[in-house]
Amino acid sequence: MKEQKMIDHLFRHQYGKMVSILTRIFGLNHLEMVEDAVQDTFIIAMQKWRNQMPDNPEAWLTHAAKNRLLDLLRKSNAENNRAVKFDNGPSAIAISQLFMDEEIEDSQLRMIFTACHPALDPRDQIAFALKTIAGFSVNEIASSLLLKKETIKKRLSRARKAIKENNISFKIPEKNELLKRLERVHEVLYLIFNEGFHSNHKKILIRKDLCEEALRLTQLVLKKEELRNGAGYALFGLMCFHFSRIDSKMSDNFESIDLKNQDRSKWFFPLIELGNSAMNKSLEYEDESSYHIEAAIAAEHLKAKSFETTDWNKILELYELLFEMYGDNLTALNIAMIFIQLNENKNARKILDDIKPQELEQRAYLYYGVEAEYFININEKEKAIQCLEEALYKVTNNSEKNYLLEKKKRVG
């Protein structure tokens, strides 16, 4: 037997590539047909490769997609009794060009920018990006976002409809529009990453997949010179820093482990280095972003040998910068938590008083969790327990629930 190990996620990534190339040729109006065609190619490959895998599976798939495309062209020509009109009008020679590496990347970028078009609802953008660029199935998107299959189907069809109705063209926007859209691209990638990193999904593999996709796509965006900026590099750095500790974030029983109790030896240092070099790159650009600050906060945590030796003053400074930018409750809550770490309980109380927990909506439990920490710190156990009970009443996901229950047991 020929020893062969296929690259992880080859099909998934190849799916995104092929859908992007074919969409570039056929136009976004034919996206559904394109996705079906690519799916067919995989079904054939799956059966054909049972007996023998090709020497270069990626090349095989690309070749098959190309043939499949030609089939579709022929069929479409025969049905309409005329040559298909392309949206972008490439000739046969140009089609071959589109299968070169650089053009494949360009096609994928066009798809990313399409997904992030302002005509699409923000929630639909994520589902659409995961489907067309990352090669996730409806089931996989549903399960990784902890949503119903029907919800995802709705979001996808709404996204497709928005693309059609707004006659969105399959390209990277020009100068004026570019910066704004790039910002949204970063946001969407950031959200995909967070879905993986901060979710309480029981399956660590699914969470990692989401993070890895976000990292891969951010890297892809940074490959193109016109798309590089400080925010992009900082975002990539931030993702590297966070992802380096994903294995230490979850126990064998799928309980989330807070920073204080993470095994720091499990952190993955090559990624931290990659993050560091991305941060250095980000300094070559003039723009600044919240990603810079968030990355700096993450880096500060990674620098500390232990939870106790964390430079909380430095982190406080950074969170205050972030609060100046956004003035959001979640950042305020983080600041309160740091004051608690620093034993500056009066300051912590002041901030807690300024936050209206109901504004945090489904994350309101976090408020009561922090308030509980505050009461523990000032030795008011009963009040701490009351807060934990309130948090338990509000929390919906099990992993967090168990965490709070544990805490309550320790206090009581």
Binding site: M1, Y15, I43, M46, Q47, W49, R50, N51, G135
Partner: protein, 115 residues
Amino acid sequence: MKDFMLLFISQSYSELGLSPEEMQARMGKWFAWNSKMTEQGIVKEGDALQDNVRRVSGANRTITDRTGAEVKELVGGYYVVSAKDLEEATKIAEGYPDYDLGGTVEIREVMVFDQ
């Protein structure tokens, strides 16, 4: 040793809505199963079959065409394997990767005629 035909009956792959990731995993399982059997000299031949079904039936040779989507139980492929007896062929069939997709293996001994 006797020859047995293993017939793989399931829904068409196109109808199952597998994701690219799942297809890659499934392909890997089939590849491993096939490699193992080839190494041990068990498989004599085998192929996967296209989804489209044409049936010719009756005195009038009536033709009916069906797509994979219309047929719930489709013969999707076969292997001819050599085994000592039905029990051993059954053991072999247990390695079929698609049981989790609702697949079935039908085992049929190939008839041998004495001269």
